[in-house]
Amino acid sequence: MNRNVRALIAPIFRLTFVAALCIALTIMNENFLTWTNIINVLRQATLLVIVGLGLTAVILTAGIDLSVGGVLALVGCTTAQLLKSGLPIPVAVLIGLAVGTAVGFLNGVMVGVIKLPPFVATYGAKWIAEGLALLLMQGQIIFGFPSSYRWVGVGYVGPIPVPIILTAILVLAFDFFLTKTVVGRDIYALGSNRDAAYYSGVSVCKITILVYTLSGLTAGIAGLLMTARLDAAELGMGEPFLMQGIASVVMGGTSLLGGEGRVTGTVIGAIILTLVVNGLNLMGVPALWHQIVLGAVILTAVFIDLQMKKWAN
């Protein structure tokens, strides 16, 4: 069907963008197209992808979650402290995830029940989460975790790193949840037109709480993975993820106005960002220049994505 084909234009284009980027990097550097490097890129992208999952759900409702970086750091630091104090790994992990989920839930209540603007509510939550992490850490860096904990960050199943497998499972689960379930469709409906969704019987309040809670949960999972990979936890660990997370979502074709987009796009967005950084590193471009290049790539990708959508309609 003609229209089905048209709906594929933007996603196909995004994949082409990734492919073009890969080809360009291969030509410019012989070290790019090696198994080790590809796996390396994917593993680096995992954290951004996971943060992007919950963020996509929030942005689909025309909301925003500025607390993801703070939550990531808070969960990482909490779990690190608990592990250091000798708690069994499952208990420490569960408490860590519960903290992330709780911050997300509170975000949801602030936005859905108290009706604070999402920007303000989650910005406040970001400061509180970071402040709590500061209290916990007292300026220290914690390192040296049990190797069974570190396995989720650095381990392998066959040739594939554990974090990549874990991320793939999460992506599939989120995509199924958002596109194939009644609740997922409610999220899209809510983002397309909040009033119409409410009039149609969608529980706007519950759905809002749900998406922010999910965002807290995924930011928390990313926090755990990161501490496991770095074998360390520190205050600033969440810093890059907020803006890069939002950029991944938007580059993946999810509209900040809500109701439009998909987590598969977010995965592509995160991979593009990671590829660019990887390429810059391989080519030995000084880190001072990275931000400028990243900014330019984000703007170009979003601009072209919008043009593609316009054209598809």
Partner: protein, 507 residues
């Protein structure tokens, strides 16, 4: 009246993605005449008016001003030629106040050449402009605090204050009450005498007869013809518009109503109706008449659990219910088709199929897993049944015409299998053909045993469709009529609070 057109459009073609909005249309307007442009929704009226106002550019054809070809690249170009107008979309800045909006981009200066606004003069002149309409509005109020009718009046005042030589009005009365409409018509009459050329777009036959001189009919983007209004009958106009004659605008097959579906006793809603007593039975269409602001919409919002109820009772099938949310009321078998389909009815950027099931997903997929193919086939059934014109159910609803959008909203509520349906202004802003179809559908729904509450500002519609009619005035039900007892005068006078309607007992 000079016979030389001041503004003329020849062979205008405009192509939008997927539709040819205008296909070789001719139009001209002379100083001192009101030239009406009519046609169904999607006929191309608004597109043509936007081309005349420089908002969009034509692909082909030429525009002549006083016999000389001109190019209109922007509304500013048009304004420099003395062409001004009001288009359907809201053009005011919501958080600026009334005076700031009226003088937007041409504020009076305190000192010539310096960028300091003379606020006192701006407010004074705004008050003068508005009082010409008999409007007493605080010019310091941000326009978002005004109701839609007042906003529309401010918008029209704004355009008139630029003293245009050609005035384009695109459905200016859609949001206005009768009193404001008659004020507007007085002003139009005045302007006509001053030699202003007026392009008036509407599909209300009664009003164009009141003020129009000539009428041009468009259908599906094509030029059908231009005639003197006095030379044609309403039936002929309708036939020109829809390309066929409509045998019955208000088809009703009347029969004895069934059991009581919904009853209100002393029902009071915050900011809405007070002490309302009201009954609707299965198989019945009950009309709710009243002016904008009389409490009609608030009444049904109360029933649907959107606005909190202060006191009184709501009974559904004889059982007491406290409405808390639309979700709860939908589960009790109530549906509300809201007056503002774009705001409360549709997800405009979503395709037809997802809109169709927006209120009924859980009914179709109780296990929580959605199959999109099934959703599409459900939507296809409604597209066929309601004759929704769309290339596919995957089409985003924003690309559909007003009448077809309204049918999608109807499909959504039909798909909930609601037994009690509330239609708030079901035919507002949709064309004659679609209107007749919506009416036929409502009649069919009543025949199938559903209870229908219909709010409408269109009195012929209320009279033609209702089995019983309640009249609201200033938040109170002031009268009730059975079909046949009512006529336009009785209801209108009650609506205005000047009649002494016999309030028959509801039960």
């Amino acid at each position: 009246m000079s016979s030389q057109p001041i503004l003329e459009a020849r062979g205008i073609v405009k192509q939008f993605p997927g539709v040819r909005a205008l296909d070789g249309v001719n139009f001209d307007v002379r100083p001192g005449e009101v030239h009406v442009l009519i046609g169904e929704n999607g006929a191309g009226k608004s597109t043509l008016s936007k081309i005349l106002m420089g908002v969009i550019a034509a692909d082909e054809g030429e525009i002549l001003f006083e016999g000389r070809p001109i190019r209109l690249r922007s509304p500013l170009d048009a304004r420099q030629h003395g062409i001004g107008g009001v288009y359907q979309e809201f053009m005011l800045v919501p958080w600026l106040n009334v005076a700031q909006n009226i003088f937007l981009n041409r504020e009076p200066r305190r000192w010539k050449g310096l960028p300091f606004v003379d606020h006192r003069r701006m407010h004074e002149e705004s008050r003068e402009i508005l009082s010409a309409f008999g409007l007493e509005v605080d010019t310091r109020l941000p326009v978002k605090h005004l109701d839609t009718a007042l906003q529309q009046m401010v918008e029209i005042s704004k355009v008139l204050s630029t003293s245009p030589r050609v005035l384009v009005l695109d459905e200016p009365t859609a949001m206005l009450t009768d009193r404001e409409v008659s004020r507007l018509f007085e002003r139009i009459e005045e302007l006509r005498r001053q030699g202003v050329a007026i392009v008036y777009i509407s599909h209300r036959l009664q009003e164009i007869r009141k003020i129009g001189d000539r009428v041009t009919v468009l259908r599906d983007g094509r030029y059908v013809g231009t005639v003197n209004i006095r030379d044609v009958s309403d039936d002929q106009l309708v036939e020109m518009m829809v390309g066929r004659s409509i045998s019955q605008m208000y088809p009703r097959s009347r029969r004895a109503p069934g059991a009581e579906a919904l009853r209100l006793q002393g029902f009071s809603v915050k900011g809405g109706p007070q002490e309302a007593d009201f009954v609707v039975r299965y198989g019945e269409i009950v009309g709710l008449a009243g002016l904008v602001g009389a409490g009609r919409t608030e009444l049904v919002r109360g029933i649907f659990g959107i606005d909190p109820i202060q006191k009184g009772e709501l009974l559904i099938d004889g059982r007491k219910v406290t409405p808390r949310s639309p979700n709860q009321m939908i589960q009790l078998g109530v549906g509300l088709l809201s007056e503002d389909r774009k705001r409360f009815g549709l997800a405009l950027k979503s395709p037809v199929h997802w809109n169709t099931v927006m209120a009924s997903l859980r009914r179709h997929f109780p296990r929580g897993v959605v199959r999109e193919r099934k959703v599409q086939s459900i939507a296809r059934e409604y597209v066929e049944k309601l004759r929704i014109v769309t290339p596919s159910v995957l089409r985003q609803v924003r690309y559909l015409s007003g009448g077809n959008q309204q049918k999608v909203v109807m499909a959504k509520w039909l798909d909930t299998k609601a037994k009690i349906l509330i239609f708030d202004e079901p035919t507002r802003g949709i064309d004659v053909g679609a209107k007749a179809e919506v009416h036929a559908l409502m009649d069919q729904l009543a025949q199938e045993g559903n209870a229908i509450i219909m709010i409408s500002s269109d009195l012929p519609e209320v009279l033609g469709m209702s089995d019983r009619i309640y009249v609201l005035f200033q938040k109170r039900i002031v009268g009730e009529f059975k079909h046949g007892e009512a006529n336009q005068e009785k209801i209108a006078s009650l609506m205005l609070g000047i009649g002494t309607g016999v309030k028959t007992n509801a039960s």
